[in-house]
Amino acid sequence: MRDVAIIGAGSTVFGKFPETLTYQLGAEAGRAAVKDSGIDPREIQFAYCANLYGGMVIGQAVMGETGVTDIELTNIENACAGGAAALTKGWWDIASGRYDLGIIVGVESMTTSPIAGKLIPPAKGDITGELGMNMVARFALSQRRYMDTFGVSLEQIARVSVKNHRHGCLNPYSQYRKELTVEEILNSRPICEPITLLQCCPATDGAAAVILASADLARRYTRKPVFIAASVLKSGDYAFRWEDITFSDMTYKCASSAYEMAGIGPGDINVCELHDAFAMNELQHYVELGFCKRGEEVRLLEDGVTQLGGKLPVNPSGGLLSKGHPVSASGVAQIAELVWQLRGQGNGRQVAGAKVALAHVVGGEVTGLESGAVGVNILKN
């Protein structure tokens, strides 16, 4: 397999833009990534566009506005992991030798989607969905069990949101740039108990894009290519094999495969963007991603290890909690953030000396399975 580099990254500012159409968001990110890479968009050989709610061939509309036509273009839906799925497919298209240059876009407009103002349900007709399941309830059930069986408190969980909102203040792309207190978070209105509003990521509109190139081609355009050391995507296994809803088997398995592919371990990661759709998720993912043993995750947070300035900053962008979560865009936006971190372009949120980075997203709900999809990508200088 050939080495694959990322030679360009771009993003819209994340926020609520009900007047902006989905394809316009995608094209803004696509053009920014093309400009950042220095390539002529007409050289691009393939594209993947991740999107959930935008409608028919949205990627063609995005690419048409970016100057990319008459190529192999595939639209991808994998819920919150759509962006990661698109990256994995693009990585393989180059690693396998089929193509040398491609673009990956993730885009979502939640404010104009059919579920605007609602809690995201599973697909129509899903059994648990019909019985009242939604994405917040799914994780509220995990959080209830987590608090009751491991003795983790709401105050401790809220501190994840405090940290990530503090990080978000430093990121010009972030939807929210405002510090929050534990009290504000716990006193915000209940959504699915014990999850309150400010333990949740917001509804967000936005897009992000990256340009992928074979290593040989990358060196023609940049002296600082960022390489994809591992790219792994997994669907969920049957829930009857899932022992404990406070520990994601699929994230654990996906991360283990990614570390093996990259030939490194969790101790080698310098910076991480992970799926903090709800504050509690971040603590559980520390364990599944191997950053600490079970029972040590609260200490990792409270000791400041995972805040900017700590040994392993997690979600320096503000994460989904503060930066926002335009569903299919998030997986690509994490990659853009980590490319900037590895290039030393993180400005006020730069993780000093970052050389190896990990991105993790998970998403989708379907009866009978742990979850829809999970993606783990490891980047390095």
């Binding site: 349900p121 309830a137 014990p194």
Partner: protein
């Protein structure tokens, strides 16, 4: 009078006045699955025996939802019920206003109206906190 319809065919059946959830046990690997199917999802074996799942279980986790869903107005409660057969069933929870929910409490299966549509009343399974002596 509205027509009474199950929210999904094949998930439960009524025999001699008692309604039960219908799952299946694989005769090869012993895995119990719900709903009932022709093929075991664990080992792909095709020798399955339909079984009536236990009507009592414990509350593995629960949440009270404060926003509407397609069929339910807030607040409503849902949760995972752990059955002795070793599987978890996602269900609407009822009776939580009278008896507060706690993780690990005993729960009992009931069949009730889930929601109403124009011409029909949709019914299905719910779990309620077990009363002394069982339901």
């Amino acid at each position: 009078m509205k027509t009474r319809v199950p929210f999904r065919e094949g998930l439960f059946e009524e025999i001699t006045g008692e309604v039960s959830l219908v799952g299946a046990r694989c005769r090869k690997c012993r895995q119990v699955i719900f709903p009932n199917r022709d093929t075991c999802l664990n080992c792909m074996g095709e020798d399955l025996e339909p079984i009536h799942l236990s009507r009592r279980g414990t509350l593995y986790s629960y949440t009270i939802v404060h926003m509407p869903s397609e069929h339910f107005d807030p607040p409503y409660a849902v949760g995972w019920i752990e059955l002795p057969e070793g599987l978890r069933i996602f269900s609407q929870l009822r009776g939580w206003q009278e008896q507060p929910l706690t993780t690990g409490m005993d729960m009992t299966l009931h069949f009730e109206k889930l929601w109403a549509e124009e011409e029909k009343e949709v019914f299905g399974y719910v779990f309620r906190p077990s009363t002394n002596g069982g339901a």
